[in-house]
Amino acid sequence: MQEAAADSGLGPGAARGVRFEDLYRTEWPRLVRTALIITGSREVAEDVVHDAFLRFAGAPQPVASPSAYLRSIVLNLVRDQFRHAQLEARRLDSHLGPWADAEIDETWWALQSLPQRYRAPLALRFYADLTVDDVAAAVGCPTGTAKSLIHRGLRLLKERLA
């Protein structure tokens, strides 16, 4: 384990309780996909996930649920970075699309036009397939609020696609 940490360049705290390379290999695609759906930009999503792994490596180990922990770091970074105007501009510049399928294209832009507070719960519920309780835990709000954000997000989406 320590050897893997040294290879990764993460330092001695990185691999306690979990083999970092395995976690990176298995979680990277899932996290980037979720971050992509929330941010709309593959470039931004990859950067956010990369830095989430860096933070994970620096966190006290072992972590009870590395996947959930990484997911919460990603969500926090996305939230932080959305407040960063330069990154917001970059997100708009590197936005995914347009899509060949008109219906997907329209849905994608409508989704990306929603405020970020709705996109994250929608991505976690309908892409990551989390329960509403898990969505609430991931975004750090009560279950009722998560349920309301998901419902309101769908309503807004429907209005924008009408």
Partner: protein
């Protein structure tokens, strides 16, 4: 049991899966160098749109007029020159407009468009295609990001969350008619704390004279005049700076609400 949101949910899932499919299953080789700029840790910004700050300063200037009895002859001359130039500009009725917004801590944004001083009305567009139209106290913008075709929606410019980002919200706020020459004239007639002639200053190849009017430590209007005409007005407030560049006075301009 089905609900009226089932269709939209299915459509959303298909869309998310399509987006997810663009990401490969294989992670790139690990590189321990950080990618993101450090998270912002700057002090909380005051959520006061520039227009609000400028308007408040203009109002303060009006109040200050009642108290200002100490204008020097030099200051009076500068004030007269600025009023004449602002009036001349307003008399031009229309102009081409470039608005450069520099919010504190945010990126510089440049929009170009047209202005009708009489209505007053503005239309402007960013390089990204995001556009707005303001006629009197009504504003429309394009939906951002675009959904297949350009769609316009009516906006309340006082609701910053409706804009693509905070910088554009501030820029939109700053484009209220208060900051047009008419507003500037009102402020100048009312007097401000100080007027300064900053001397010759070229804008591109255009020879101009640069004046500055300040009101307290937090607000200043920089004005550049060429041939008695305002060519640039910059308003500085604690939240940032907005610079209006005017050119092609009197060109034909028709600004109408967007088609539904």
């Amino acid at each position: 049991m089905t609900t009226d949101l089932d269709d939209i949910t299915a459509r959303l899932i298909a869309c998310m899966q399509a987006a997810a499919a663009t990401v490969p299953d294989e992670a790139p080789p690990w590189d321990p160098a950080p990618c993101l700029a450090p998270s912002p840790r700057r002090p909380r910004r005051r959520h006061v749109p520039l227009a609000l700050a400028a308007t408040a300063a203009l109002a303060a200037a009006v109040i200050a007029a009642a108290l200002a009895a100490r204008s020097t002859p030099a200051a009076t001359r500068v004030r007269s020159a600025l009023i004449a130039a602002a009036a001349h500009t307003a008399a031009g009725h229309t102009a081409r407009l470039q608005v450069t917004s520099e919010p504190v801590g945010g990126p510089t944004l440049v929009a170009t468009g047209l202005v009708d001083f009489d209505t007053p009305a503005y239309t402007a567009t960013y390089p990204s295609g995001f556009s707005w139209i303001t006629i009197g106290d009504q504003t429309w913008t394009t939906v951002w990001p675009p959904v297949n075709r350009t769609r316009w929606v009516k906006r309340q410019t006082t609701s910053p969350q409706q804009w693509p980002n905070a910088a554009e919200a501030e820029l939109a706020g700053a484009l209220q008619p208060d900051t047009a020459p008419a507003g500037l004239i009102a402020a100048l007639r009312a007097d401000t704390t100080t007027f300064t002639d900053l001397g010759a200053d070229d804008i591109g190849r255009l020879a101009t004279r640069h004046y500055q009017a300040t009101q307290g430590p937090d607000w200043a209007a920089d004005v550049w005049i060429s041939d008695g005409q305002l060519v640039r007005v910059g308003v500085r407030a604690p939240t940032g700076t907005v610079i209006f560049d005017y050119s092609n006075y009197g060109l034909p301009v028709t600004i109408q609400p967007p088609s539904p």
